[in-house]
């Protein structure tokens, strides 16, 4: 059944509904398989120019939905002010929510918002959005002149930002927050005790008894959300087995999970669990982060949003610092690669009524001024270069330092954005490994099995990465 021929009838029936006729549902049954009414686009008939690269029309309005999570939504309000200063005749309707998918998915096929920050636990699956053609490629945004600095928008972005927003060869997602992941520790405590933050698992295993002797658990993790430990597992795999191994995993290459170096990386984590170096209890992200702040554990691994998320309960004298994930040692292929990348993605739906203004708004979000305010308000880096230069903060500074010493290659993993099944399975297995219910070997076998299943499932559209 094709969608289009029914559209007019459907529209007609809608009007009939307004008249209160009883016949609607009975007749409407016939169009059960029809799509919904197409949104009426506001035509962007304004002239395109260097100052107005997308031809935003004065008097139009743009609807912006912001995810109000760990980063809050104040930064977006500042971006709105920046946008309004240049385009006073465009109305911005901004709202923020934590329920992105619940509120936005039903509108995607008909009349979506113009700018949607697709983030948090309730986000719309990005591959599905791309496969369904539900979001707009944003190449013209990258090529547009930057808001308040020289060059194009693309020139102003940190490395990895374009790559992280690219799906099937096209740039779709503007990730606004630049996150660095790693192991966090309390620098004040480490200095007092004379401990050195370890660089390898062996150093950590050597330090662990000293930490335990002080009545602390060496490590605490989020046992409820499997994607937390998964960052750490994948970072270790990347360091140990190298970049190509992870690219092969993402591309569902045959026996990619059985490549050299993958199993030893997971065995290091298995040893950490078996040696009882974890804080007892199955805590979630904020509970585990609070336990770490309360001095119950020495290390926790998470991204740079940590400080902002826990800002209200950081004890006085606690000095948050970020160190790189541990490597296995001499045999590693990429021991110094840092896990960093752009996250918190913003998308423009294909059916958005005012795409020109949506892109213009994103240009304002990526502006120098906007990103500096972002870093200031959230103590996280923005994806625009130099956002954190003027922020005084030990946590942000340690992340900055880690980045400045990092090699060109950044750890980045794509398979969980490519395939929802692998996302779920890898979260589950990561949690099981960390709970001590799986061995490293079982984890590898489980992931390989799940990958094979996806590879042979013809109903799943395949994606590849080259870099």
């Amino acid at each position: 059944m094709s969608a289009t021929p029914d559209l007019n009838r459907r529209a007609l029936l809608r009007r009939a509904a307004a008249a209160g006729l009883l016949t609607i549902p009975a007749a409407g049954l016939l169009s059960a398989c029809a799509g919904s009414e197409p949104a009426q686009e506001q035509s962007s008939d304004a002239e395109k120019s260097k100052d107005n690269p997308f031809g935003v029309r004065d008097g139009s309005s743009v609807r912006v939905v912001i995810f109000n999570g760990g980063l809050g939504d104040q930064w977006a309000k500042e971006d709105e002010a920046i946008f309004k200063a240049k385009r006073p005749n465009v109305t911005v309707n901004m709202s923020s929510t934590q329920k992105i998918k619940t509120e936005e998915q039903p509108k995607m096929a008909t009349r979506p918002s113009d700018v949607v920050m697709n983030s948090g636990a309730d986000l719309m699956d990005i591959s599905t959005l791309v496969n369904e053609g539900a979001i707009e490629p944003l190449e013209d945004l990258l090529a547009a002149p930057a808001w308040d600095s020289e060059g194009t928008v693309a020139d102003t972005l940190l490395p990895g930002t374009v790559n992280d927003g690219t799906y099937q060869g096209k740039f779709y997602v503007v990730n606004v927050a630049y996150t660095v992941w790693g192991n966090w520790y309390n620098a004040a405590l480490f200095e007092k005790e004379g401990w050195q933050p370890p660089k390898t698992f062996d150093e950590f295993f050597a330090l662990a008894p000293k930490i335990k002797a002080r009545g602390m658990a060496p490590y605490v993790y989020d046992a409820v959300h499997g994607y937390y430990p998964r960052w750490a597992l994948m970072a270790t795999i990347w360091k140990s087995a190298g970049r190509q191994a992870v690219i092969d995993i993402d591309n569902l290459k045959e026996n990619a999970w059985k490549a050299d170096g993958v199993l030893p990386a997971l065995e290091a984590w298995e040893k950490l669990v078996k040696d009882k170096l974890l804080l007892p209890g199955q805590l979630d992200h904020t509970q585990s982060q609070q336990a770490w702040l309360d001095g119950k554990a020495a290390f926790i691994q998470v991204g740079t949003w940590l400080k902002n998320e826990m800002a209200e309960t950081i004890p006085p004298g606690f000095e948050m610092k970020l160190s790189d994930y541990w490597s296995l040692g001499a045999g590693d292929k990429a021991p110094n690669d840092v896990y960093a990348g752009a996250g918190e993605g913003i998308v423009v739906p294909s059916k958005a009524p005012n795409k020109a203004a949506a892109k213009e708004f994103l240009r304002a979000v990526l502006s120098k001024e906007g990103s500096a305010r972002f870093a200031e308000l959230t103590t996280s880096l923005a994806s625009t270069r130099g956002s954190g230069d003027n922020v005084q903060d030990s946590a942000l500074a340690s992340a900055n330092e880690l980045m400045s010493n990092a090699p060109q290659d950044l750890v980045s993993v794509k398979f969980w954005n490519f395939y929802a099944d692998l996302d779920k399975e890898s979260q589950n297995l990561s949690a099981e490994l960390m709970a001590g219910r799986l061995t490293a070997q079982q984890f590898v076998d489980g992931m390989q099995g799940a990958a094979n299943k996806v590879a042979s499932d013809s109903s799943i559209k395949k994606q590849t990465r080259s870099a």
Binding site: V224, D423, L429, R437
Partner: protein, 313 residues
């Protein structure tokens, strides 16, 4: 005259019926329509695929697992909720000492009624936050904390509650812990329902039973329960529906909504994952339709089995 009545009735019914058809029946029909397509949920592109989605259902391992978890709840939720509600209702209405004033409940039954009914007025979010603290898996959790203080739980190995997939009596522990919440929150309402039904039983029936020398046990099983048959049967069906859903509890209480590692996966959680994460709305709609058919069959069977002659008093 008759014509006028018909017009009068139609005039009043038209709007509610139209609303019902549009907001209830129409979405059902739409879901059934989508279930024979490969619609992804985010576009208006879809292709007719016939019964392919339904055929896929039968070979889907995850669905099979979820189905058995639903069956577990289908058996246990009504059983435990009704048993507890009946027990409480009996104590509160006829379980007390019988004296000159006749049959009455235990001392302070009015207060107990309010307390037992209380979970019913709490929103699910409040219930979830509360139970997350009760079930918290370290020394700060209510149950773990108390048990650690009295030395029943090893601080190195706290109870994991909804994070525990290990089987207990062949069923993952997480399901038993969810069951406890479901029974706790449901029993109060059915207690009130059964109380009302018990109060409509004439007191002389109980008095006659007592005069004949029946104790509480016999009074309950020989008099009260048979006279409550209709009410219990209705309660069983309602609870059956609740047991087939259970989505909200699984969603807020378990890791990765159906975890750990699929240990608490139910129909609704698989459906949600398939529709919203995997972007296979067509297949998800097929699951929904299958569940709806199963529910209707179940209710029909239930009503048939329990149909008996009504006792008038």
């Amino acid at each position: 005259m008759r014509h006028g009545v018909a017009r009068f009735v139609t005039g009043f019914l038209a709007l509610p019926v139209a609303l019902y058809l549009f907001y209830v029946i129409w979405p059902f029909a739409q879901a059934a329509g989508y279930s024979v397509t490969d619609w992804g949920g985010y576009s208006d592109r879809q292709q007719f695929v016939g019964l392919e989605n339904y055929i896929r259902l039968f070979s889907d391992e995850l669905i099979r697992k979820a189905f058995w978890h639903n069956v577990f709840f289908l058996v246990t939720v009504p059983l435990f909720t009704i048993a507890l509600a009946l027990f409480l209702a009996f104590l509160l209405n006829v379980g007390g000492r019988e004296d000159r004033a006749g049959i009455r409940g235990v001392f302070g039954s009015g207060l107990y009624k309010v307390i037992f009914f209380f979970p019913q007025v709490l929103s699910l979010v409040v219930v979830a936050v509360m139970w997350q603290q009760i079930y918290r898996a370290d020394e700060l959790g209510l149950i773990n904390g108390v048990l650690m203080k009295i030395g029943l739980v090893d601080p190195e190995n706290p109870i994991a509650f909804t994070n525990d997939p290990e089987p207990f009596l062949g069923v993952p522990a997480v399901l038993w812990w969810l069951l406890l919440i479901a029974v706790w929150s449901g029993a109060g309402f059915y207690m009130v329902l059964f109380s009302a039904a018990m109060q409509s039983i004439p007191k002389d029936v109980f008095e006659a039973a007592i005069l004949d020398g029946a104790g509480r046990f016999h009074t309950f099983f020989r008099v009260t329960l048979p006279l409550l048959r209709d009410t219990v049967s209705v309660a069983w069906i309602y609870l059956g529906f609740i047991a087939l859903d259970m989505y909200a509890l699984v969603f807020v209480m378990t890791p990765s909504q159906g975890g750990p590692n699929h240990a608490s996966e139910i129909f609704a959680s698989v459906l949600n994952f398939t529709a919203f994460q995997k972007g296979q709305f067509g297949y998800a709609c097929a699951m929904g339709v299958a569940l709806a058919i199963f529910t209707i069959l179940l209710a029909a069977a239930q009503l048939r089995i329990t149909r008996r002659e009504r006792i008038e008093y």
